[in-house]
């Protein structure tokens, strides 16, 4: 029993999950209806659903980011790619005579994705072929990318009136938000492709020891291309969801600072920024923690001026609890307790 408990506590996702539960509890105290999920207009409705739906874009980006980080890289350009894909899709839909038709939306989404793939390959090219440090390589696209998005929208917010497009962001399928379904699919695909094939092992091995991997015949270059492209692809999906959510492309604000949230999700999930072993499930938990945190701020009514401090407190708490040092201290504490308990037994 206690052995099982120790195993659970030692799991690297233990504390993030605990933090998630704590946040849920805080919400529940502030707002008793927090866990209530009702069916309204044929679809699920409730705070938990909101968390899932609003967390979906961050999660999707964080999945791509996880793989990039596993190769010892980082992708700062995801926010800009979000903005570009949204801008491209919206401007195509706006430019078309039939903004409401499914085919228009399909074309718009496809073109947006293709452009994102090109952008991802560009990042991959800079990192893998030219050998630029990832943070700088993607910083270039982060800076220029928003400019490109604004170029496409001419700095305006492009509002589209296209039900199929809007469906992407706020639609439901079998009562479940489309965004959540998309995120689930991306997650499943990423997990299957990397874990059922050897891709995951190669990514980790390149992240841990690039030279040894090269000598073992792993094609690091191609791999970097793939992960950066995939990251941009994920960013594009997230960008489309974000844009469709409000049915408007906002080149300035779509995906602003989302790279930080995504990286935070990855790290809370236990993947090291130094590369190597990664955990997609961890990333999922991390993304949920972050989105719950945001929702908590709103429902609990934390004043805007205190929001940042609250965020800092939560992040710090998770990190400190997750730390091996804390685990050590806790173990020592438990042992002392056990010894004391044992003594008590002996004395009686």
């Amino acid at each position: 029993m206690s052995a099982l408990f120790a195993r659970v506590v030692a799991h690297r996702l233990f504390w993030p999950v605990v933090m998630l539960l704590v946040l849920f509890t805080i919400n529940l105290i502030a707002f008793p209806g927090f866990f209530t999920v009702t069916i309204r207009d044929g679809h699920l409705f409730g705070s938990l659903i909101d968390i899932l739906r609003n967390g979906a874009p961050t999660l999707i980006i964080a999945i791509g980011m996880t793989l990039v980080i596993a190769t010892r890289g980082i992708d700062l350009s995801v926010g800009a790619v979000c903005a570009i894909s949204g801008a491209v899709a919206c401007s195509i839909i706006l430019g078309s005579p039939t903004p409401g038709s499914l085919s228009t939306v399909a074309v718009a989404v496809t073109v947006a994705m293709l452009i994102a793939l090109v952008l991802g390959m560009w990042n991959g090219f800079l990192v893998a072929v030219v050998g630029v440090q990832p943070i700088i390589a993607t910083l270039i696209l982060m800076t220029a990318g928003r400019g490109i998005a604004m170029l496409i929208t001419e700095g305006q917010i492009l509002t589209v009136n296209s039900p199929p497009f809007k469906f992407l962001g706020s639609g439901f399928w079998f009562g479940i938000p489309i965004a959540v379904i998309i995120a689930a699919v991306v997650f499943a695909v990423a997990a299957l492709v990397t874990r059922r094939t050897a891709l995951g092992m190669f990514i980790e091995s390149v992240g841990i020891n690039p030279e040894a991997s090269r000598q073992a015949g792993v094609r690091a270059r191609g791999l970097l291309f793939v992960v950066y492209t995939f990251s941009a692809f994920c960013a594009a999906i997230a960008g489309l969801i974000l844009t469709a959510n409000t049915a408007a492309a906002d080149a300035n604000n779509t995906g602003l600072f989302i790279e930080l949230d995504a990286i935070l999700a990855v790290v809370i999930g236990g993947t090291s920024l130094a590369g190597g072993r990664y955990s997609l499930v961890g990333t999922l938990v991390g993304a949920l923690v972050i989105q719950t945190l945001v929702t908590t701020v709103y429902t609990v009514g934390i004043p805007p001026i205190a929001t940042m401090v609250f965020k800092a407190a939560v992040v710090t708490a998770v990190c400190l609890l997750q730390s091996p040092t804390t685990a050590e201290a806790l173990r020592g504490f438990r042992q002392r307790l056990a010894i004391r308990a044992g003594k008590g037994v002996a004395a009686s």
Binding site: R196, T197, A198, L199, M201, F202, E204, S205, I208, N209, E211, A212, S213, R214, Q215, A216, G217, V218, R219, G276, R277
Partner: protein
Amino acid sequence: MESTVTNHTDPPTAVVEMRGISITFPGVKALDDVDFRMFPGEVHSLMGENGAGKSTLIKALTGVYGIDAGTITLAGDQVSFSGPAQAQAAGISTVYQEVHLLPNLSVAENIMLGREPRRFGSIDWRAMRRRSAQLLAGLNLDIDPGSLLGDHSLAVQQLIAIARAIDVQAKVLILDEPTSSLDTDEVAELFRVIRSLKEQGVAILFVSHFLDQVYEICDRLTVLRNGKLVGEYLTEELLRIDLVQKMIGKELTTLDDLEQRARSVVVDESDAANFVTAARLGRRGAINPADLPIAVGEVVGLAGLLGSGRTELARLLGGIDRADSGELTIRGKATKLRTPRQAISHRIAFSSENRRDEGIVGDLTVRDNIVLALQADRGWFRPIPKKRRDELTQSYIQALHIRPGNPDALVRNLSGGNQQKVLLARWLAIAPGLLILDEPTRGIDIGAKAEIQKLVFNLAENGMSVLFISAELEEVLRLSHRVVVLRDRHVVADLENDGLTVDALLALIADGSVEADDTDAASGTNGDRVAVLGASDASETSDHLTIDNVPGGRR
């Protein structure tokens, strides 16, 4: 405990006394109630198989690992170091098993870091360079102290690490497999230094898998097996055969087996039977154009001094570096190798001498490390089925006695020798046509070494070609059908191995030197070159050996 030490030989007090030391890692009891002691002015050796716990005991002493149980006394005082810095301050100077130096800093800094001479608060760079030059000269190593450490070969780095350790005015000097990459001459230099330190009353712990070296230098032995103490013995009172038996717990026979087998040379003169033929293969600044044919089923040994270019030549064949001159013919087809990947697809495997940086992928499991190259060759979308992976892993764990035998253990947590075995397994798994082994027995214990040698031998009999590089000439001679000698980045001899002796080979390796040519123009500016032993190389005589005038030359 079967301790055979008799008290009258002991000097009065032990400088290090470890009692009842236990350390447990998740899943492994690395040390179990081990006692260990060292006396001033003696050379002591820790002996044991790979994974026996030697390095762990050392790290326990110097505070890298905390101990679960036991006491440590240093010069009579009980101590408990929280890190190597403290141990160092208390007079224990250590060279750890893997070379732990800083490639981005100069040689001088690597030697002096942490105790740099200072003037008015700032580091006195000139004094630092002078002092380190002295230390290097003490090891007969003639390299520029200002050069970057990362520019030197592993062996040189190992010597630099030793230089760093002996500079400290230490009571205790610990050397964990310091000679694993060193050649005979460097070992001799090291021993000279060790002897003089010993005379000054320093207690020295010397770990090595080379029994010759141990018997040459050590006064006393402590044997570990599976994390347990077997006993403490005086070297002169323990026969080698008994020592080996104590280490592995049973009799060792395999080696003699090997010696007795006849070497059947399967060399065919026609290129068609050659697995690979290198013709004038070279790379500027690394190795001069060299010819190297390797027949199917042939074991070719490369011999040479430190920095003679053995590794460089092997890297070209393994596709690690690109050749910029010459031709390579693989199975009769002219081929250019641009990447290791291509080499692997031609069934050429290169196992690097630098296992920590170029070999193992530390944070992956034993299983993943073993299948890595095979999987990379198949491509990512054709994963090896789980069952096959497990079988493969199990079979190599058994064949090579990898310990712990847990496929899910992280390679990082294996002992040095076991890491080497995992690496070997990786390359054997791709069923190579040519296996290039650069120092494959580095840090491998005597039992396993014999196993590996036997393996190489059997593989060759079954048609695998092997290029074998080792600092241990006996080993090269024992295994190779042919020995190619390098000197100063030139191939200087190519000999059939019948009746070759170590002494003959040594003479060949060390005899004079090839006239300084373009290679020196490139590297000579750094002065990073070891003085060749007994070199009277000022003479411009062109008497260096060529293929033609070497006795027993190939053509």
